[in-house]
């Protein structure tokens, strides 16, 4: 166990809300505003943790279990994803399946908690969430399978460790498609524009924000923190492909990966500033497109 062994867990646990801050700041700058402090997501979390929640009389224990099980699944998922040159604390063949299915567990409980309120708004969000995630799932797994074939290994840590800049020379088009697929999955799973709009709720068009409408206090803090973690984890999978720089001392590798994450946050902010949310009927086309990109990437790496 070296000093950097726990970095892939500690970095997201500590820094993931900052990622949200960067996205928000980017959007503010593009819109010509000063914007909120970079650390605003931390302030929000701290404030929510100090509040007392209000529960609906309709709800049962499922509503209270939702945020807790969801955050627990994400914390466990954090132990599977490598960052920079550092392998994840837990790495085994097939860990990518556990990763995808832990996200599935999170989703199941979020959706059930939403349905537990009996509100039609939340039912609507839940319905859209399960629709879009069902379409995003094949894209994620096929993209990872393509990486597995390219690198000949079945665990996320060794896959990302054996991916280096030369891969872009040999199978550049495949990696580009794979990046496209993963980027769409990243935006969809994290409820970003053009699939969902994270800044408003209470609109009939929203997905994730409307599902958590009735959560408050520490429960909402758990959910927001979980959302930040998810943003980081899926982002790390994307950045690992785009910036496969490692081999130097661990702090240089980590710095490279961190700047990759920073870049991703800025790109996300730019996408959100420059696009409108798509009509809901067009979102499935985008997600199926992501699946096709991933499948093509898989076929291309077979060469």
């Amino acid at each position: 166990m070296t000093s950097d062994a726990l970095l892939p867990v500690l970095l997201p646990l500590g820094l993931s809300p900052l990622l949200l801050g960067v996205v928000n700041r980017t959007k503010a700058i593009v819109a010509g505003r000063a914007g909120q402090p970079l650390l605003q997501p931390y302030f929000d979390l701290a404030k929510l943790l100090r509040k007392a929640p209000v529960y609906s009389r309709t709800t049962t224990w499922v509503f209270r279990a939702g945020p807790i099980v969801g955050l627990a699944a994400l914390v466990l998922a954090t132990t599977l994803v490598p960052f920079g040159a550092g392998p994840a604390p837990m790495a085994f063949s097939g860990d990518l399946i556990l990763f995808a299915y832990l996200l599935g567990l999170l989703r199941l409980f979020t959706v059930l908690a939403a349905l537990d309120t009996g509100s039609s708004f939340e039912g609507m969000g839940a319905s859209r969430e399960v629709t879009f995630s069902a379409l995003a799932e094949p894209a994620l797994l096929l993209a990872l399978a393509a990486l597995a074939h390219r690198t000949g290994s079945l665990s996320l840590s060794s896959m990302y460790a054996s991916l280096d800049a030369s891969a872009w020379v040999h199978v550049g088009p495949a990696l580009a498609m794979l990046t496209g697929g993963l980027l769409i999955v990243f935006l969809a799973e994290n409820a970003r524009i053009p699939i969902d709009d994270p800044t408003t709720h209470l609109e009939l068009t929203m997905i994730h924000e409307v599902m958590v409408l009735d959560h408050s206090g520490p429960d909402l803090a758990f959910i927001l923190y979980g959302a930040a973690l998810k943003l980081w984890l899926l982002g790390a999978l994307l950045v690992g492909v785009v910036v496969p720089l490692h081999g130097g001392p661990w702090w240089i590798d980590t710095a490279a990966a961190l700047s990759g994450m920073l870049g991703l946050a800025i790109v996300t902010g730019l996408i959100e500033s420059s696009m409108a949310r798509w009509r809901l009927v067009r979102v499935p086309q985008l997600l199926i497109g992501a699946g096709v990109l991933s499948a093509l990437a898989f076929v291309l790496v077979l060469q």
Partner: protein, 658 residues
């Protein structure tokens, strides 16, 4: 072997006893259920022993029937299925002893218990028979016994129609099996399984016959049409047995026959993968469109059979490519999914039965908020839902993990022959998983969460102990297999060895490729529990001393929210059913609100099975039209019928002499 025969005898005797004591509902239930439980317990002993390594049991008694022999054998594969059959049947018999009693006022329960016990005995015989004639006879008894169980409530026209569909479908399937065994007999000169052999030229034809024949019982698309009719019509504990184990005899037959058909060509594996994908996606999509809770579960059986076929497909691709890793992981995944599906689908059908029992309806859109009135049933249903979606840390994840892992090993192995079907398996499993999650959030969320949508739930209550205990036992099974996954998978080694014909060391070495990662999965499960406990603790600490209020669900300031404004199952599934609308062909009858003060408006949707609508209905209509031309032959005059017989005999005689 004696114990197995004792179990079979006990089943028949108690079934007969239930028939004799049919006058008293309680008496026949006591005899039937107690007999089933005792017999199943006795039958479990030899099965468990063989699976743990005891020598193979065999019994051969000469029989007068041509090519027939009363030849039974319990090897690892048979023992594996026997454990499932006896285990689930015992639990459902306990459940049935309470579930059926309310029907006792209206009808005799004796025949039901008789056929239940005969069904269990015939299933046990199917998986132990080692002679084609005996196998087909047991197969037929199984079909007939389950037919009479399905038509228990035969006063309803819908139940009678379901029974007819089932009877026709199962016999069409059996016809293919008959052809299958006749061809095998011609090639090998015997119908004893240990002497079956086939010429490679015929193997592919035999394989296709087996896929259709056994696939009809298992529910492969497009031979699945009887499943969504028969399962909802049957009493719930019978649905649990039929969906949990009876349709698996189809998988058993396919696996058993794969061992005698010789080395498979690659396209067998591709075909199985294709069938798996079609059944999986078709099943889950149609499940999404259903309004009837038990019909939804029945379509999910089609989906899960698809997942098993995907596993078998990966295994057969591995066999043909000489890749033991794919072979072992594929077959182990498929077999473990057989166990898991028996457990969670049995559980879900029992829960659905409890809901129907308590509310008098299976219509999902009429229910809601049941978790408060039926906390145990609700928790059990949630466990089953998480398991069937294949989510960690429960058992469904373990078998899907094995199939995924097999497919991923195929993805990284060189050669495109294995890589292409693997692409379909990976993408398909992921899509099926996502859609299953959509379907079960709908089923659990609409039935058990929110507010009651109608008066049906007003008097809902938890069922009695006899119904609750089997549900809890099955839910515990979901958790235990999930928590002890590496050891459960390790225990499959003798079965996989029997199925694949690979040497024991190779099977063990390749299973270790899965049990190693599964240890990490168990570790992750522990981690999940610890983190959950920590989060619960920290929330309790945070909330200590604060005033936690209760209020209304936030309704955006609307003054008079009513329970009918909640999202319904139909509206929840609508985005997905619209997306796949061209496949589902949902029929909508809409009465739109009209005028300034609309008084009535309604929307009725109905999703008939496309295979029935566009495949079987036209074919059967055509046959009906064609044969009606011969109707003049049949006019009710007995003397002419006797003449037909005489002419037929004469013709046959002339043919024989000539």
């Amino acid at each position: 072997m004696t114990l197995l025969l004792v179990a079979l005898g006990l089943l028949l005797a108690s079934g007969g006893g239930a028939l004799v004591s049919a006058k008293s509902p309680r008496g026949s239930t006591a005899v039937g259920a107690a007999g089933a439980v005792v017999a199943c317990t006795v039958g479990l002993i030899p099965a468990v022993r063989v699976l743990l390594g005891a020598p193979v049991l065999a019994l051969r008694v000469a029989w007068e029937v041509p090519s027939g022999a009363f030849f039974l054998e319990v090897d690892a594969l048979s023992a594996f299925f026997l454990i499932l059959i006896f285990g689930l049947s015992a639990l459902t018999a306990v459940y049935g002893s309470e579930y059926l009693l309310p029907y006792g006022d209206k009808k005799s329960l004796g025949p039901n218990w008789f056929f239940f016990n005969v069904l269990v005995a015939s299933m046990a015989l199917v998986v132990t028979a080692r002679n084609g004639v005996l196998f087909l006879m047991a197969w037929e008894v199984m079909a007939l016994a389950s037919f009479f169980l399905v038509t228990f409530e035969d006063e309803h026209e819908s139940v009678r129609a379901a029974g007819r569909t089932y009877l026709v479908a199962t016999h069409l399937g059996t016809a293919f099996l008959l052809a299958f065994f006749l061809l095998l007999q011609r090639a090998s000169g015997s119908l004893d399984f240990d002497r079956l052999a086939t010429a490679p030229a015929e193997a592919s034809l035999l394989f296709l016959l087996a896929v259709v024949g056994f696939g009809t019982k298992a529910g492969f698309v497009p031979f699945h049409v009887w499943l969504p009719e028969a399962h909802p019509a049957a009493p719930s504990h019978v649905s649990a047995v039929m969906s949990g184990v009876m349709i698996k005899t189809g998988i058993y037959g396919l696996v058993r026959m794969l061992t005698v058909l010789g080395p498979p060509p690659a396209w067998w594996g591709w075909l199985l993968c294709g069938i798996g994908l079609t059944s999986g996606i078709f099943g889950v999509l149609f499940a999404l469109a259903q309004h009837d809770l038990k019909r939804l579960l029945a379509y999910h059986s089609v989906e899960n059979i698809g997942i098993m076929a995907l596993g078998l497909g990966v295994g057969v691709v591995g066999l043909s490519a000489g890749n033991p890793t794919l072979t072992v992981l594929g077959f182990a995944g498929a077999l473990l999914h057989v166990v898991n599906h028996a457990i969670f689908k049995g559980l879900l059908f029992l829960c659905a039965g409890a809901v129907a029992h308590a509310t008098g309806t299976r219509e999902i859109d009429h229910l809601g908020g049941l978790l408060k009135r039926m906390p145990w049933t609700g928790a059990a249903f949630l466990t089953g839902s998480v398991a069937i979606c294949g989510l960690p840390p429960l058992n469904g994840f373990v078998s899907e993990f094995l199939i995924y892992l097999g497919a991923l090993h195929g993805a990284i192995s060189p050669g495109r022959i294995t890589a292409i079907p693997v692409l379909g398996v990976l993408g398909g499993l992921a899509l099926i998983g996502g859609l299953a999650a959509a379907c079960f959030t709908k089923a659990f969320g609409i039935v058990f969460l929110g507010e009651a949508r109608s008066d049906h739930t007003a008097h809902a209550h938890e069922p009695g102990l006899a119904m609750r205990l089997p549900m809890l036992a099955l839910a515990a099974g979901c958790v235990l297999i999930g928590c002890f996954a590496p050891w459960v998978v390790g225990a499959l080694a003798p079965v996989v060895e029997r199925v694949t014909g690979l040497p024991a060391e190779s099977v063990r070495a390749n299973l270790a490729l899965a049990t190693g990662p599964l240890l990490f999965v168990v570790l992750a499960t522990l981690g999940l529990l610890v983190v959950t406990a920590l989060l619960i603790g920290s929330r309790r600490w945070l909330l200590a001393g604060r005033c936690v209020e209760e209020g209304l669900t936030w309704d955006c300031g609307y003054a008079q929210p009513s329970a009918r404004m909640q999202y319904t199952a139909s509206s929840f599934a609508q985005p997905l059913t619209d997306l796949f609308g061209s496949l589902l062909q949902i029929r909508r009858r809409v009465v739109p609100p009209a005028g300034l003060f609309p008084t009535e408006a309604s929307l009725v949707t109905d999703t008939p099975d496309v295979c029935v609508e566009y495949l079987y209905q036209p074919v059967f209509d055509g046959i009906g039209r064609g044969l009606s031309a011969l109707r003049w032959l049949q006019h009710g005059q007995v003397n002419l019928y006797v003449l037909y017989i005489a002419i037929t005999l004469l013709v046959l005689l002339v043919w024989q002499i000539g």
